[in-house]
Symmetry: none
Subunit: 401 residues, 2 copies
């Protein structure tokens, strides 16, 4: 694969426009009765007609057999190596609540949990307390200052929270306090890098204070921290591709991932139709659009085959609006498969369709897993998608004399 | 992909013979009216019959979306990593005029240009002066000696020239004097590596002298230099593959690239027929032949779809001669695509056909972009071609016990 650095050297700005539609969890598995996946079951005349004018393939997001999380899946779609550009759990959680993480902030994922009279963890999720209760407790924990470091605590859903350590001289090189099991005491946070000893000390002091504050709030009488991490310093998509990129995503985590890649996040509604309307309204102002469709993945995670089919048909109808804008390049793909049969993310390669005037169509006339196998892109790495989109938008110079 | 070092460890000499036919700019794009590329439009019964006995695929020369220059394209075909084995512009220009570059020579590409009374570049190409005039001026500039370094100046076409700095202790780590724009003064050559300061000084003194020599030769009253480079020190194809390789190419640059890879360059004519006759005459003396067909690329660059079709049909007819020699392995492919519709090199993968008695044919019975998609080689990296050719020639031992 061409490295990002090579692409950076030969990329140039131009007026052409690229739309990348990421249908979350796009790939599926066939029902035994019909032999058809969700995408093969859906009635998708627009996607099929576009596929006939496109070059198609099947994409591995991270590697053969590797089931991608949302972060690596999307980083790969944006062209970043998803293995070396790993995003820590704490950062991902902060992105997921639209928290504006500073470059020096250290974020940790937290669980409200239960400890017994001996201090042993008896429930790592504090009986999955309500989000309302979580919000009340986070307000009690929020806003402390330890050794000049401000500690911001934000609730997520149920027992989940994010702790952000904001100050100078901090390091993410510390271990978790979450023991990931019950019947033991929470672990001490330990510096795994020499420069992290102060951070470890501050984290331990925060945990001790939290224990005191939460003492009377059984079952949520303790907090466990894990995934201490700093926002990765990635070159932005403007650095690499000379693009003016925008993101259209209704879920916070994907907006956060887009921000990490240097995209401007546009306000949008939640349905595919509303997202495509946002695209239309902003089409003049950017030359790259990442459009994220969430509900396919949610339906797959719920094991609801036909709800996923339904969302795919909604996307297909909304595609009309994209095509009428006449972008130079349209890519439709996903960040991983989420087969309803597996009720979760999976390793299966994901269909890719790349349309441009210069794409060299390949005879594939149906946008589906089984048709894309025969496409001109073959089985490909997802990190190849952005270089191909850039090439098809005539935004890459020749490499070498 | 198997590294060159691994291939080197398991390669062995044998009597079997490999012919690699590189059809420059082979890949194309379909005409809207017919839906067929140049190769799909051409009548190629010999290539098609050979494809039916071959294993086929589509090859990326550098990477997905990357449009290869001629040098990276060919280096990849010879098995070298085209990104790390980059050949500088100056060296390529010297290769292009068959100049015998020494291992310590530093070569720069030059432009005769026009500067105005204030010394600002007003035309980077001196009005594209004639090659005849260029030859006269290069004789005036040639043969100087500065600080013990001999400076050789050779004309190329129109305003283009090559400057070779020959002496000890030189470095290619210097910047261009060519500002790549008009209305500014030529840049000073600057050392970008500490050991290059003397080279920079010599280059600047040469440029100052050239300005004086050319003062009365308006519009060619100045010279701009770029792409200072040294011949890369690659392991030869004999080192790696234990081959006795020969090159048959009518254009100087490809002969130069073949020399860089350690091939013997054979005298030949210019048509595919004449090149295949050269192959026949020399068939006993070598076990590897690189045959380069240039005119497909030239036709593509000119946007002449049907001239490219015609050259492809010439190649097809000349293939008779190759087949009658019964080489053990025949590879037919290209160094990049040059679709007539794009009038230039492009990123599109290139058809590959590999024939041998041991190739495991794949049902592809037409040598074309759309047919090769279904081939047994799939979409592949061009650097895999040489290991596959070597294996099919039974010249590679088993790896590991």
């Amino acid at each position: 694969m061409a490295s990002l650095e090579l692409v950076r050297q030969i990329s140039r700005a131009s007026a052409s426009k690229i739309v990348l539609i990421a249908i979350d969890g796009l790939g599926g598995l066939p029902l035994t009765e019909t032999g058809k996946t969700e995408l093969e079951t859906a009635n998708t005349p627009n996607l099929d007609a576009l596929a006939a004018r496109s070059v198609c393939g099947l994409s591995d997001l991270v590697g053969a057999g590797i089931t991608p999380g949302s972060a690596p899946g999307h980083l790969a779609l944006f062209g970043y190596d998803p293995v070396s550009c790993l995003i820590g759990r704490g950062v991902l959680e902060a992105l997921g609540i639209d928290f504006a993480l500073g470059p020096d902030d250290i974020a940790a994922r937290g669980n409200l949990c239960t400890v017994d009279e001996n201090g042993l963890v008896s429930d790592r999720r504090a009986g999955r307390i309500t989000t309302d209760k979580n919000q009340v407790l986070c307000r009690l924990l929020d806003g402390q200052e330890i050794d000049g470091v401000r500690i911001i605590v934000r609730p997520v859903k149920e027992h989940r929270l994010v702790v952000i350590f904001r100050g100078s001289g901090l390091s993410a090189g510390v271990s978790d306090s979450d023991p990931q099991q019950t019947g033991v005491v929470p672990k001490e946070v330990i510096a795994v890098k020499p420069e992290a000893s102060r951070t470890a000390s501050i984290a331990n002091r925060f945990v001790a204070r939290a224990k005191a504050v939460l003492a009377d709030h059984y079952p949520a009488n303790m907090v466990l921290l894990r995934g201490f991490s700093r926002r990765p310093e990635l070159p932005t998509m403007t650095d690499i591709y000379k693009l003016k990129p925008a993101a259209i995503a209704s879920y916070p985590m994907y907006r956060g991932l887009a921000r990490v890649a240097g995209m401007k996040v546009l306000d949008t509604g939640t349905t595919p139709e509303e997202e495509m309307e946002t695209l239309k309204q902003n089409f003049k102002n950017h030359d790259f659009f990442f459009v994220h469709i969430k509900d396919t993945d949610s339906a797959g995670e719920d094991g609801d085959f036909y709800r996923k089919v339904d969302v795919l048909e909604q996307v297909d109808r909304a595609l009309d609006k994209v095509i009428s804008l006449e972008p130079d390049v349209i890519v439709v793909t996903g960040d991983h498969s989420t087969p309803a049969l597996l009720k979760g993310h999976s390793w299966h390669p994901v269909p890719v369709l790349l349309y441009s005037h210069w794409c060299r169509p390949d005879g594939v006339s149906r946008f589906s897993e089984s048709a894309c196998i025969s496409g001109g892109l073959g089985r490909m790495a997802a990190t190849e998608i952005m270089p191909l989109a850039m090439a098809n938008a005539l935004k890459l110079d020749k490499f070498g004399a």
